[in-house]
Amino acid sequence: MNKLLIAASLGLAMTLPAHAATYAIDPTHTFVFYEIGHFGTSTNRGRFDRKEGTVQFDRAAKTGKVEISFDLTAISTGVAPLDKHLQSADFFDTAKHPSAKFVGEKFVFNGDKVAEVVGTLTLLGKTQPVTLKASQFNCYTNPMLKREVCGGDFETTIKRSQWGMNWGLNMGVPDEVRLLIQVEAIKQ
């Protein structure tokens, strides 16, 4: 009888759809980089270093949800006066709005890989739609953690004026900003 139960439950386990699992953002492999043109010559880059968030992910049901917030006071361009200017009211106004938040409610799949995450970005107190496109996506078992890790590279191009970040537009500082997102999340 016991044996039968075990066999039955094993059979059930195999046919049941995989449940949505919670993944915690790995802060050591999750970064947002921005790219903005500089006088039509080169590209300025910056990085947001402090972040936290979680992902609900169900590969079988092809659903997911992600919430991640970034501490805008931890911006890093490699140029200290620029970091300071970016935190001022001209740009991120971190005294009033110290963080930015991305919420992705819709995961678009291509096969078993995430191809797009459709969501919203809240910045300077304004929430606007943003779609992140994956340039690669993969899951693997991390040999040290012995846990599943899923992640990839995503990107999108936004117009900063949509969030009211208008400084320099009249001086030729571009409106378009490319965001490059490295993300890995560990199954809990």
Partner: protein
């Protein structure tokens, strides 16, 4: 008649080849080398090196150029101090023995007035290897405050870190490294 022609050519030659190489000092606020390497076939790790000093000579009429950069590998910045410290160790950047990498190039390709590619030697961890940097964009403008010509662009190239002996973590972290170089130089 022949002698006259040769004589005329000699007189004309300096006028035709009047363009002298123009020297540009690299602007450390707009010159950074970023590396990209794939982590577990999943997401892209990025790190930034400041460029301590460098200069570029361009002779656009003769389509020649020369570049020399000192790249501060000891000041690698990934946004994660623990990871930076790991990168500085002997089996990766080995910055105690070699705190600086050098890129020296005298093989420039032009597309009209624009630099399209630069081939030279990168010395990393004391090991020299040929590297080609291709321009993604290149342009010049007159800096509004400095009132001087600034030229620069974005370049990309790739190397195999194993060729330089920086082989820790392969194959989980890829051998192939993409270099993304932002560069701007101010005319001397």
């Amino acid at each position: 008649m022949q002698r006259l022609c040769a004589c005329a050519a000699l007189v004309l030659a300096p006028a035709v080849a009047a363009a002298q190489p123009v020297v540009y000092r690299l602007d450390p606020q707009h010159t950074f080398v970023t590396f990209e390497v794939l982590h577990f076939g999943t997401s892209t790790l990025r790190g930034r090196f400041p460029v301590a000093e460098g200069h570029v000579e361009l002779d656009r009429a003769a389509q020649r150029g020369y570049a020399s950069l000192r790249i501060e590998t000891a000041r690698v910045d990934t946004g994660m101090p623990v990871f930076d410290a790991r990168l500085r160790q002997g089996d990766l950047l080995s910055t105690e023995a070699s705190p600086v990498a050098y890129f020296v190039a005298s093989n420039f390709s032009f597309d009209g007035e624009r630099v399209s590619a630069v081939r030279g030697e990168l010395t990393l961890r004391g090991v020299g290897q040929g590297v080609e940097l291709r321009a993604l964009r290149f342009g010049c403008h007159t800096h509004p405050q400095l009132r001087r010509e600034v030229c620069g662009g974005d370049f990309e190239g790739e190397l195999r870190r194993g060729d330089f002996g920086a082989s820790f973590g392969m194959p989980f972290v890829a051998n192939r490294v993409r270099l993304v170089v932002q560069v701007e130089g101010i005319r001397d």
